[in-house]
Structure formats: structure tokens, C-alpha cells
Symmetry: C2
Subunit: 199 residues, 2 copies
């Protein structure tokens, strides 16, 4: 068995848009060869349409949002494929909306895939202990812990949070709409959030 690093999986995901498990499996089958794994995912139809041509989202915008007269600030990088799309009002609005979302809702990660396994394990253990303390046992305790984990993922992941300006949709839905309108792959690469006196 070849050891498949998280960074290699991430790279393949950026290239193909395929899911974590599909990427990990493809890399394992191709013994860590990135190009072969990419071809395999394409052959299986798991690489998304936008990325099939090998286009990578490296353009985009770095946007900021300062709140409460400088007591809270956010910096976000949102990527698309071309500078042309990055300059559209549609994309600028998206980048600003995402910065505002991070300011208002304090996500800890871009997506649930970014939650480190040790963080997830600690959360799960705490929920399990709580469920047992509440008198639940066996499968009932497991089910309760999983329910709480799902809540944790939804709250901690930017893409799964309800969009602050339209709570019926998630931030991920918002991004998918802009992907559909522009025809380009769009992703949130990273964000920073500074609250005065914190951290």
C-alpha cells in the first residue's frame, strides 16, 4: 500500500472537483501518480464538467470586509478560472458576500473536508460521552453523537452554513449559482478572521 497524503488528495480534488473518497481511491489505485489518477477519475466520469478540460481555478479575488468600525475584519480568497470572470460584478458581489458571511457566522473551516481528523474525533468523543451521561447506550448513543456531529459540521463549515442574506440556501448553493451563470469552476481557497483582542 502506498501512503496517500492529504495534500495529494487536495491537489487532485483541485484538479478534478471529485470527492475526497473518490480522489483517495483513485490515488491508491494509481499508486500516488497524480496524472494517472486524474485520467482514471475522468474515465469514470467523476471529474466535474468544468474541470474535465484541466482548467484550474487560479484567478479570482482577494476581498476584505471590516465590521464594527474596525473591531472585526475578514480577508478571503475566492478563485475562478479567468481574470475576465473575476472582474464581473457577479463575482465581486460573491466575494464580498462570502467575506460578510465569515464576519457574521464565524466558520472555522471552508468545508467539512478541512476539519482535521483529530478535531472531529474529539468532537465525536465529547458528544458520545454526553449521550451516555444522558442515559443513552450502544446504537442510541452512537446515533445521537452522529446527529450532533452533523450539526457541528454544518455550523463549522462555511459552505454548509445558511447564507446570511437568504437563510433558505447555503453558501455552497450561492457559489453553485455563480458557477452555473459564469460557466467557471469557483472555490473558496482560504479566509482569515480577526476579532479585536482575540487569538
Amino acid at each position: 500500500m502506498v501512503e496517500i497524503s492529504a495534500s495529494l488528495v487536495k491537489e487532485l480534488r483541485a484538479l478534478t472537483g471529485a470527492g475526497v473518497i473518490d480522489c483517495r481511491n483513485a490515488l491508491a489505485e494509481c499508486r500516488g501518480d497524480l496524472e494517472k489518477a486524474q485520467q482514471l477519475l475522468r474515465a469514470r466520469g467523476l471529474a466535474s464538467a468544468a474541470r474535465k478540460s484541466g482548467r484550474v481555478a487560479k484567478e479570482g479575488l482577494v476581498a476584505s470586509y471590516i465590521h464594527s468600525g474596525g473591531r472585526l475584519g475578514v480577508l478571503v480568497e475566492v478563485n475562478c478560472e479567468t481574470d475576465f470572470v473575476a472582474r464581473t460584478d457577479d463575482f465581486k458581489t460573491l466575494a464580498r458576500d462570502i467575506a460578510m458571511q465569515v464576519a457574521a457566522s464565524d466558520p472555522r473551516y471552508v468545508s467539512r473536508d478541512d476539519v482535521p481528523s483529530e478535531v472531529a474525533a474529539a468532537e465525536r468523543a465529547a458528544y458520545l460521552a454526553k449521550a451516555r451521561a444522558d442515559g443513552k447506550n450502544g446504537v442510541d448513543a452512537d446515533a445521537e453523537a452522529e446527529k450532533q456531529m452533523e450539526k457541528f459540521y454544518q455550523g463549522a463549515s462555511l459552505l454548509e452554513q445558511p447564507f446570511i442574506r437568504d437563510q433558505r440556501r447555503t453558501v455552497g448553493d450561492l457559489i453553485k449559482d455563480v458557477i452555473a451563470r459564469t460557466g467557471e469552476n469557483i472555490l473558496v481557497r482560504r479566509f482569515a478572521r480577526f476579532r479585536l483582542g482575540e487569538g
Copy 2:
């Protein structure tokens, strides 16, 4: 010997303004007791005037600077002691100048004290290897490596960089001027710098 963590040293520094080594020694002597270590530093006159009264810089501003039409962005937190000073034009200008400095000069750390020891060790080893490859030996090689380390620290530390708008002074000098004018302790707590497609 009590193990003194870096975060405890950092906390004592924030409280007293004393140097890293003084703080570490005081904490070791007081077996990790933060309050006793603070009193010890005061007794020795090593806590700075502004901080002797126990005033802590927890107010201030989070400021951003976006460059090149969104291809580069910076978020910075600059602290002072009161909201009153944070609202002055003098302080706002300082925060903005620091954000621009980070954008232009790409520092890796706020001060040389923030350089992790393993990073410093790796730099020093590389300079030493280079000096030896250039035919220098013993003390000559050491001296050359130290000279290069000094350059590394000056380039990598925000506070030691020449200020972009007045190269005769460092960013640290600029901050000292505002400290003198406002009578408040001022410090750069942290910064983030995103360049499109990097990191």
C-alpha cells in the same frame, strides 16, 4: 525544572513588555506563576513604563488593504490601550501604513522573537554550509553565518523592515513615534497576507 511554554512567555510579554529571555527567566524562577513573574519583572525594572500600571493593549483596529485590483490582500490587527486612541486619525493612519507595509514587503513574522527556533536553526545551518562551501572555516564561517542571520531577521520581521514610505526608519521606529505621541502602548498583534493563487 518547570516546563515554560512559549504561550506563557508570550502572555507575560504582553503584560509587561519585557524581552523574551527576561520573561522566560522570570517564569522559570517563579515556577510558571504568571502573576509572581510579573511582579518580579516590575521589581527588576524590566516591565516597561507604559505597562507597569498593568494596562494591556487590547483595543485598537483591524485594518485591511487590497492591492492590484484584488490580487493581493492584507489583514492586520494593531492594538493600543483605549478605544479613544484607536479612533484617532494618527492611529488609523498607522494601521493603514502597516497593512500597506505587509502588502509591499511580505514580512513573515511580526518580530524576530516570533521566528520559530527550528526555522532559525535551518536558516543558520544553510548559511553555515554556504560559508564553508565558499572556503570559510571555523570562526570565519560562524561570523559569516551570523551576518546572514541578521539580514534574515531584518527582512523577515515586520518591525525591523525599513518603512516603505520613509526608508530611513523602520516600522518599529514608526510605531514608537505613535507611542510617544499618544502615550499608549501599541503593538502589532498579527497579520494575514493572501496573494492570489499562493498558499
